[in-house]
Symmetry: C2
Subunit: 73 residues, 2 copies
């Protein structure tokens, strides 16, 4: 059940361990909120449009986000 | 026109200058791609679900993203 697109639970069950940076079309950062205690990161893949959860603690994930923000993607 | 949700042009025309960190429900990072030369950051606001473009260079934006990633949001 979502109202205004607000998820009423965590969306990620497991996270992708393999570095898939070059396949990422976009990344969604969802801060912890009343319905989900953890920050969630959901990447959309280029070719398939598939959504994949990433681990906010994983070094390669932090590197991918840093790279996107510095416009060197 | 979008295929598989891939935007065929830049989505942001202007960016929000006021620090609106506490109103942000989630943030979308879109790396530069063949259709848009710049990294784009699109925030969805909590109450209204409204989408707002943020400036990747703005210090307050970098702080908001850092805070989300460190799970201190």
């Amino acid at each position: 059940l979502t109202s205004l697109g607000v998820e009423l639970h965590c969306r990620c069950i497991m996270t992708e361990s393999k570095p898939i940076g070059r396949h990422i079309q976009k990344v969604e950062l969802i801060p912890a909120n009343s319905h989900c205690e953890e920050t969630e990161i959901i990447a959309t893949l280029k070719k398939t449009g598939q959504e994949v959860c990433l681990d906010p603690e994983a070094p390669w994930v932090k590197k991918v986000i840093k790279k996107i923000l510095s416009n060197r993607s």
